[in-house]
């Protein structure tokens, strides 16, 4: 249960919003940080905290590509599929990733390392095609760059090619999968 483990953090989140429901996204992030994805039990618990019904929490989770409903690989490759990236070849990038990793978008490799997701615009329209791996941005991607990134991630858990995020106000509190 989140409530027991994160009592002060939840209280802090709730105190930030005059309307209780506004705390939904931060709480979902909290749940995701805990388990790597948002479980049904977590959705029910959050619904209880915010006086929402579980379907209301569920619809929010399914709307945002940043929230996952099932366990993911250690590295979550989130490739932007929105218009700007599509114009400069995001579908080629996705195809390349799928070929290299032997899985389809939405799937996880057998070794549990990589999951590919197609996501909506990540706000790096000037530097597409791009992807976000866990909390890091990798931009102006080419096939060679992707190969290097995948190799780096496998070996070191991170890659020197990362370029961001730039808009994140502060480092994320805990590094999932690191």
């Amino acid at each position: 249960m989140l409530k027991e483990k994160y009592t002060t953090e939840i209280a802090d989140i709730l105190s930030r919003y005059p309307v209780k429901r506004s705390a939904l996204l931060p709480l979902l992030y909290l749940a995701q940080r805990e388990q790597g994805y948002v479980s049904e039990a977590a959705m029910q618990e959050i619904a209880g905290i915010l006086k929402l019904t579980p379907p209301q929490v569920y619809e929010t989770v399914t709307f945002y590509t940043m929230l996952n409903l099932k366990p993911l690989g250690k590295f979550h490759l989130q490739v932007c599929k929105s218009l700007m990236c599509a114009l400069v070849g995001s579908d080629i990038l996705i195809g390349w990733l799928e070929k290299k990793l032997g899985i389809k978008a939405g799937e996880t490799t057998h070794d549990g390392l990589f999951t590919i997701s197609k996501v909506e615009c990540l706000g790096a329209c000037g530097t597409g095609p791009m992807m976000q791996v866990n909390d890091d941005y990798y931009e102006r991607l080419t096939e060679e760059k992707v190969d290097r990134i995948l190799a780096d991630l496998k070996r070191d858990g991170t890659s020197a090619l990362k370029t961001g995020p730039f808009m994140w106000p502060e480092p994320a509190p805990a590094k999932r999968g690191a």
């Binding site: 049904e40 959705m43 619904a47 209880g48 006086k51 929402l52 019904t53 579980p54 379907p55 209301q56 569920y58 619809e59 399914t62 709307f63 409903l69 909506e120």
Partner: protein, 888 residues
Amino acid sequence: MPNVAVETVKLTIDGQSLTVPKGTLVIEAARQVGVMVPHFCYHPKLKPDANCRMCLVEIEKIPKLQTACSTPVAEGMVVRTATTVVNEAHKSVLEFILANHPLDCPVCDQGGRCDLQDFSHEYTPTTSRFIEVKRVFQKEYFSPLIEKQMNRCVQCLRCVRYCDEVMDVKALAPVNRGTMTEIKHFGTHELDCEFCGGCIQICPVGAITSRLSMYEFRPWMLKRADTVCTYCGDGCQITLQTKDNQLIEVNSSLGAGRNNGDLCARGYFGYHATTHPDRLTTPLVRRDGRLVPATWDEALEYVAETFAQLKLKHGAQVFAGVITARCTNEDLYLFQKFMRLAVGTNKLDSSARYGQVNAVRALCRIQGTHRWPVTFEDIAAAEALLLVGTNITEANPITGLRVKEAVKKHGATLLTVESLQPTVGTISNIANLAAHHFTAHPDQYKPVVLGLIKAVIEEGLADQPLSQKAPAYLQAIRDAVHALSWPTIEAATGSSAASFKEAARAFARTARAVIIVGAGVLREPGASGLAATLQDLLLLTGHHGRPGCGLAPLAEQNNDQGAVEMGTVTECLPGPCDLDDQEARARVSALWQEDLPQGPGLTIPEILEEARGKTLKALYLVGEDPVGSLPESARAKEALEGVEFLVCQELFLTETAQMAHVVLPACSYAEKDGTFTNTEGHVQQVRHAIEPVGESRPDWEIFSDLAGLMGYPLEYGDAKDLLKEIRALVPGYNLPGPTPKPSRPDHTAVDRYLQQGYAEDLGERYRYTPPVKAAGRLTLLVDQSLFHSGKFSTKAKGLLHLQAEGAVSLNPADAARLGIVEGDRVLLSNELGHCRTTAKVWDRIPAGLCRFPEHFDQEARRLLSVSIDVATGVPYYRSAQVKVEKAQ
């Protein structure tokens, strides 16, 4: 409504100029001049969402097309809805929608009444430029009653918005994004909600349909009959749709009836009860100890003859009759006339005895009239609402919607005193909308109300004019609440003095306030006293008698109010007038051209008492099943065994009917014509939708024939003839318009109460003695659930899908303490008996309380004792102290 000058705006739509109130939406203004702007997502009940883009119109001086559903009118606006540009836009929107819509119209239940079909026909988007494969959602099981075909969905989200904005259930969610948006409940779980059917009715296409009638019809094959639902006192207008004399489905229409298109699970899915195969189809007569089929002639002659013989031998005072308040006004009226004239006794009663009598008595006593001083519209427009013991969502769901509307749409302040915890669940919880909620057991309603009155007095919120008009009354209340200390009230209610004061301020400082009371008050001891005390609260805050304010007691049965007004409760003559009111007696006997019988009336408990004492020889029961509905401690079976001649007029062979000497098959509401009077006193037309099942006949026809055979012809051509006679005796039966006229309190009655009437029982009403409760016991409440109404609805297959058996609901803390988990078999016991059932752990149940649905109480009834109200003769048997333990 107070007369506030409404600001208006002048505009032109398609060349027609019109004036509408400021804030009207263009789409609504257009409708007023007969221009229908095509739309999917717009609905008058819902807030604008403008997501479907179908209602685009051209507005002069705005460069781009605007959505008519979200644009408010402005002075001098010039709107065009049928230009080439607009038509092209409509066509394009349809092209997008049809890019994914399947071509399954021939097997779609909506085919023929589908907005998408109609607009496609109108704008003929014949060629599509989309070559992509259509989006396909995997078929998944949604629920036993509601079917989902997401491929047909146009993603207007009306269902989701209705479920939230109107029902406050929030069971539906649009999941995922864009074209892939689909309507789901929660993950892969099947739908669990109030099952009001609203999503089905509001869906503009065939994406959400009813499984009860799936593939059984094409809409144009259906014959419609507008009638009134019988499952509670709200009196919702429903349209029964039939094909070949079979009930196919139920609809309701926006703008029609008191429900304005809204229904609950009972109304929408409960219609199969009337055509259940167990319906009685022929009269039955007991021969050699067995009930065998007989012809109507045989049966009626037998009854008439036996009645005549018994009357000759013992006189008319050995007869009694009880009729159910589910019958039409015409049936009820003729029943009492039959009993009074043909039989010659006043010993008749109806099921309005079980609670409605308390309500009417409290209204009459203080406001001098027997009907609500408010209407549903007043509830929706109220600024403050106080609900006491209503369990409104489950007992009177549609009145509940008016309360939700008041709070959610108009920002009313809601105070609730309910046996509910404010938790979120699969069915809506009115306590969640309350600004001030008091969780109370039924025996705590009184101290909570007294606490509110004490707070009103102490906070100086009492109405100024009242202190001049009735100083003695005010002083008496002042003294009475002074004698009650805050610690006593706090201990009795578990709520703090501060919370009472806050709630009292919120309630008193509003211009329009309505108090709604339900069965929690009306069917518990002290009912009429507490209802009177609640009127004291209205008097004290100056709300009593003000338009749009007043006390609204909820009726449980569809025609409870009618039963009282028809004079079918024992203390009343039609009117309702007192049985001893000489003037009224003269009026009635002048119209009937016959003398009224002398002698006292008898209430249901007294009738059973006389039967037990064998002074009653003949009993005529119409739709009442005392053996199957009263607790065993009422010893109804033993009483009826002592009756020499028992006649039951029924739909089904109930436990009581099995004991009868003659059983007469009656028509259900779906097979007869007449009127019902709903809880707010609105008289509405009941129309038959199907032919009588078997040889069953409308109740009034049976009374009429029997009377004829007994030599007292009571002949009427049809139900309308009867209504004409009713009109001569009972005011308010000229079929009214769409809204009732609320009764205005009679000032002389109010003054009489303020000057001396109050003193009669004020001391008693304001005294609080804590109830004695045995340690370790829970209070069992046997009451109404959302999915059933009485025992009748347990014959409806749709509702049985939702709730097929009884289970005792427990508070989670109590369950944990007793080591009980959901689904466990449990044993409930007390001095009177025991019963085994299944446990359900439900967080909305207050600690110390457990609930059991009365519809399945065959065994749970053993635990209940009966106490009878000295003043109103109402038998109370809803609650008991029980020991709950895990069954071995």
